[in-house]
Amino acid sequence: LTPDDFFTRAADAFDRAVHARGVFARVFRIGIWRVRICFAGPDLVEPLTRALDHLRLNDTDAGPADLTVLAWTGTEADQSPPEADAANWQMGHNGFIRSLSDERFAAHWMFAAGGLQMLDREGGRALFWLRESADLPYWESGAPLRFLFDAWLQDRGWLLVHGAAVGNGRGAILLVGAGGSGKSSTALACLSPHDDAGVDYLADDYVALNPEEGTVYSVYSSGKVDASSLARMPFLEPYVANAERLGQEKGLVFVHEAFPHKVRLGPLPVRAVVQPVIQPGAGCRPTPPSAILKGLAASTMLQSARPSAAVLTTLARLVSTRPTFEFNVAAGSVPEMSDLAALLPARSALTRRSVTVVVPCYNPGPYLHEALASICAQNGARQPGALDVVVVDDGSDEDISPVLRRFASRLAIRYERQVQQGPSAARNRGIALAQSEYIAFLDQDDLWPAGSLEIREAALTEHADIDVVHGRLRNLRRDEHTGATQFGPPRRSFNVGGMLFRRRVFERTGVLDERLRFSEDVDLLVRITEAGVGCRRIDDVCLYYRRHGSALTGRLQGGEGGRMHLSSWAYILKRSLDRRRT
């Protein structure tokens, strides 16, 4: 059986499995490419995509895929790859299947799981097949399709580097070293609620490197944590996905679910390469690049299915052109992130606040804390005062000032209280108080993804003719009891929380209509369109929109609520027509 024959027959088996079980599909952005994963039946969807969910694209309008992966399980003769067992093939190192690999194809046997990954370089296709989904080890769920991504990125001149990464809007720090050296726990330490160094999470084990630009991209949102790290970082504990098997396995945390506003997607320029070292003391110490390269190259080559001299050259070039450090992590302590933050460039001093963030509040409960934390996670908030935050309390019964005080050192918050007049009135009060050229909105229970505000700012700054930037949003639902978090697919919506406005928009079109009970955002956008205001749509997810039983809009999506929405649309359009007719 040639690799070509094998691939064709396996793909046919996939088609038959689809016929029997139905097809499911998901699209993700890996680096700068679109990867579509098609599943025969639902059993692998969650295990293979949970760690990639932060990179999910809109399934329908993502455009053609650069790589299509066919993923399925099962051992029925007509629905599985031919001769699918390592015993039938000539094996190379690390599970590499020599007899199924050539110039065009690369194949890998997963010994622990009993399964196969195979890449067709020319066809932009790949296979992922497993005997049984239950056989997938936890580390594969944490870093799914790693062989395919490794080989595929290498073909594009990129690397899947064995390293962790943290960063902020100004750059990333690549954390390197052999397993057990403290990469993971250093990266995960940035998630501590007590940490205010303003450094976010990219990766704890593998990160995609674009060598030409010297930038890194998050691939997997997972983090692995052993029992002793977990004891030091108890804030991770509620989010350990495999808690019942902690004796035999490392704890697996899907960081994107646990801390949605703390995950950076990249690209971020690599500003320093750092090797954590477990030894007494703290802080970073310059160390020669050669010392760093040894650990980085060895572990990347060992982890790679196709180690090559080119990998070594690329890593050597990266390390020799960046400052390199050793980072002391005292045994039993949580790494001090401010020492790492100091390696990233300082933000240039701002002469004026460029963005006013309006946060309308009414009895926000515990959510306000998360919303404000996600504002802090925007690059501008590193120095208090870089963002102008206006919290408008629309007559809450509860006292929200203790929450605001907790952010006093990190955000310049202005607190305004009014007699209850509704969310539109609260937003309008914020607009009236805005001191900045740009105005953003964030509701009390929603979150901004890390760095999403600066993406919107950049779009406005680059395009002088544009007055509104409109990102995508994803619904977020967190189970209050289990802490389990679900995300909907990225979509485009009217919600102003995913947008950024130039202040002059409101001078031109007026503010939100306080008389409307529903769809006041639709009304605003209709007026904006009517006035011919320049609006730019961007594909980045700029809002996590929380859905829960108690929020007004939460009930309005389907059924009766949907009909009420639509009837308000008709009213809004009628008014628009009337304005234009006079």
């Binding site: 139905g22 097809v23 499911f24 599909a25 098609c38 639902p42 969807v45 399934d59 619904n475 639902r477 679900q486 909907g488 697919p489 979509r491 485009r492 919506s493 009217f494 639709v522 956008l525 209709v526 369109t529 009517e530 859905r547 939460g554 009930r555 999506q557 389907g558 059924g559 949907g562 009909r563 929405h565 639509l566 009837s567 649309w569 008709a570 009213y571 359009l573 009628k574 628009s576 027509l577």
Partner: protein, 144 residues
Amino acid sequence: MTSETAYRINTERFARETVDGEVIVIDMDEGNYFSMRGSAARIWQLIEEGQSAGAIVSALGASAGGVTRSEVETGVSALLAQLVDEGILLPAPASGTTPAPLPSEPFMTPVLEKYTEMQDLLTLDPIHEVDETGWPNRSRSDKA
């Protein structure tokens, strides 16, 4: 189309509402919207009642003075044809009810005004794709 033909509104795709006597129909798939005023809005009301084309012409003719039946007939069938053409109306059996009496008003040639300028906006929020339970809508969005 015969005078016995009646119609139903394609509510899967179109939302409609009458605001201050003006009928607004929104195409949720394409993001276009339509307006009907005056005689067109009256015809719409009769369509909503499930009246046949013939019954609509009779009801309208009876309520309007100084107009021939054939003028009314031409106007009604042109509007119905347009509504069918846009996919807003689908053929359906007539309800057989007596039309509610219309206030007496002069007949004006009925017009279906079509607006496309909000297309980008009105196709934005796919609330028509969200099912009754609202979350998570996996069954539909997952299918490739």
